[in-house]
């Protein structure tokens, strides 16, 4: 070991140049990899520190300040925070965000699981299908939003034509401008685009379940539903938790489609926390108050992520096979 170390370190120390400055040498020999460590860590450290970590701290600090982006922020203590708890628009945006989280979970988890189990099957046509299922995930949210806008236009859109052709009056709705249904339409659009992600997750989860379990069960003559209930579902427990975490954090912070298609309307029924924060910051220039909304969003996200990580443990995916004796 000691032989290897010195050999490994020798070139690193030599790289410092032929400087024979005697007093500095022992120091260098003590930390021979410092230069390499420094070079390797600087890039990631800088970009992450300056553009993620510092903004994170600034967001917390700004939430106690009054600032319009010009001049210097003025410390106002908890006033932004008390304002938040008395702001009906922000609170209803929070409720709408939570509604989208709940609806997304109810829709995406079962659908993602079903598609994942389908995709994990071995028939050739399933591979072709799942290849096509992924296509929406390749498109930008901006692109799909505009696509849906063309399709859902109540007077000229494709769905309108379909309604006329099939004499299906129920297809004729003001899909993106109705206080009652637009929120559900948005949840569908988000699901349409992001469900392939859940599918991939469950496909991998299903393929990690050892076949022995199913073989043993079929020897016992159990039915398909029985096998799903007693083998597949328990074995997918960790996948379900991971999927839940991603759905919750993803839909909590959902922004793009709503910003492009409804701007929070009609009547604020689709105004979510992320959108409200954006408006407060970049339309009203209240950076301090916007930071309160940002912190709420961030804390909710982190709490959910850590709560679910606690349940699964950090290496959940790899420890899935434990417990199979």
């Amino acid at each position: 070991m000691s032989l290897q170390r010195t050999k490994a370190e020798a070139p690193a120390a030599g790289r410092g140049g032929p400087a024979p400055a005697a007093p500095r040498r022992p120091h260098r020999r003590a930390r021979p990899g410092l230069l390499a460590d420094l070079v390797g860590s600087t890039g990631v450290g800088l970009i992450y520190g300056v553009l993620i970590l510092i903004p994170l701290l600034v967001a917390v600090a700004l939430s106690f300040c009054n600032w319009n982006g010009l001049g210097s922020p003025a410390w106002i203590g908890l006033r932004n925070w008390t304002r938040f708890f008395h702001d009906p628009v922000a609170l209803s945006a929070l409720v709408t965000s939570l509604k989208i989280v709940g609806l997304s979970w109810i829709v995406q988890l079962p659908l993602g699981m079903a598609l994942g189990l389908f995709a994990a099957g071995r028939q050739r046509y399933r591979a072709v299908y799942s290849t096509l299922f992924v296509v929406p995930l390749l498109m930008s949210t901006a692109g799909t939003s505009l696509m849906w806008q063309g399709l859902l236009d109540p007077n000229l859109g494709g769905l309108h034509w379909l309604a006329v052709k099939l004499h299906a009056g129920w297809l004729q709705q003001n899909w993106l401008g109705s206080p009652t249904i637009t929120l559900y339409v948005l949840v569908f659009l988000i699901t349409w685009q992001f469900i392939p992600f859940q599918m991939l997750l469950f496909q991998v989860g299903r393929r990690q379940i050892p076949n022995v379990l199913y073989e043993a069960a079929s020897l016992d003559g159990s039915t398909g539903l029985h096998r799903f209930w007693h083998i597949t579902l328990p074995q997918l427990a960790y996948t379900i938790v991971t999927s839940t975490m991603l759905i919750v954090v993803g839909s909590l912070t959902y922004f793009d489609v709503i910003y492009i298609l409804t701007q929070g309307g009609p009547d604020n029924t689709t105004n979510v926390l992320a959108l409200q924060m954006y408006q407060v910051a970049f339309s009203q220039y209240e950076y301090g108050y916007a930071s309160v909304l940002a912190v709420v969003l961030g804390v909710l996200g982190v709490v959910v992520a850590f709560a679910l990580m606690r349940i699964t443990g950090f290496g959940a995916m790899s420890s899935q096979q434990e417990g199979i004796g």
Binding site: R15, G40, Y48, Y129, P136, F197, A274
Partner: protein
């Protein structure tokens, strides 16, 4: 018999979902081939128009330059992500000091923070750095937004490279640099492609960061450019559909060429 019924039900439901997935995309293709006038009068679901006037409108509206911006930003983002995260992963795996581990701890911490929560101060920081409304600033911010996941994937991979390989090289007198260049880099080719696709997809499709970090048409990237295009040509649905399709073509091509790698990149760190 029961098995066959089950198989049929699976096929039927999957086919229904396939239609739900493909119908809007089919609609987009058919509609993009019409002239603006024909779109209002003819059933847009039937393939009929074959004119490329919509595509001509798109190019004359300057979408070509947004395309170039997107290519620049995406390329920069991928290169930066790969170089930084691989170099860093190598140091975490082989560190001689505690520095890489400390940085790594902080980066992992950031995995749980949604980028939406920091857009306000991120905008402020980028303005202070004088990088607002520049492609450089956008590239750096996009790289930062995916660096935590990229680093995690890369570190997990490089750590799993057997120590014996490295030791064998260093015994022969190989320097840190040659270990990196002749061992780590060639072994990491596969994971580099996946991480590159992950970072590239995000850079190409991200909407929020361009929205808060750029404004002029000299820095407009495709997702934001599409929305601006819609503001100007909103009535011309065929042109709009053509623009959306064109913006997605590069990713479709990559998907056709390297499906497995794209799937690995799409699923990021979760599915490995």
């Amino acid at each position: 018999v029961r098995r066959r019924i089950g198989g049929f039900t699976a096929w039927l439901l999957a086919t229904i979902w396939l239609i739900v997935v493909l119908a809007p995309i089919y609609y987009m293709v058919v509609a993009s081939l019409r002239s603006p006038g024909a779109y209002f009068t003819a059933d847009p679901w039937l393939p009929g128009g074959s004119g490329l006037s919509a595509y001509r409108t798109v190019f004359s509206a300057g979408l070509g330059s947004y395309f170039v911006h997107s290519v620049l930003v995406t390329t920069g983002c991928v290169v930066l992500t790969l170089v930084l995260s691989l170099a860093f992963a190598f140091r975490v795996a082989r560190m001689k000091t505690r520095l890489p581990r400390v940085v790594f701890r902080f980066v992992v911490l950031g995995l749980a923070v949604p980028i939406q929560a920091i857009i306000v101060p991120l905008n402020v920081v980028v303005v202070k750095l004088g990088l607002y409304d520049t492609l450089t600033g956008l590239t750096l911010a996009l790289t930062a937004s995916t660096i935590a996941v990229s680093v995690l994937i890369m570190v997990n991979f490089v750590r799993d490279i057997p120590r014996d390989f490295i030791d064998a090289m260093t015994v022969d007198g190989g320097s840190e640099w040659s270990v990196f260049w002749h061992l780590i880099l060639p072994l990491s080719r596969g994971v580099l492609v996946s991480v590159g696709i992950y970072a590239g997809l995000n850079a190409w499709n991200n909407f929020l960061l361009p929205l808060i970090l750029t404004q002029s048409s000299s820095t407009l990237v495709l997702p934001l450019g599409l929305v601006k295009f819609q503001g100007l040509y909103g009535v011309d649905v065929p042109a709009l559909m053509a623009a959306v399709l064109l913006s997605a073509v590069p990713l479709f091509l990559v998907y056709v060429v390297a499906r497995r790698k794209v799937l690995a990149g799409l699923s990021g760190f979760v599915v490995r």
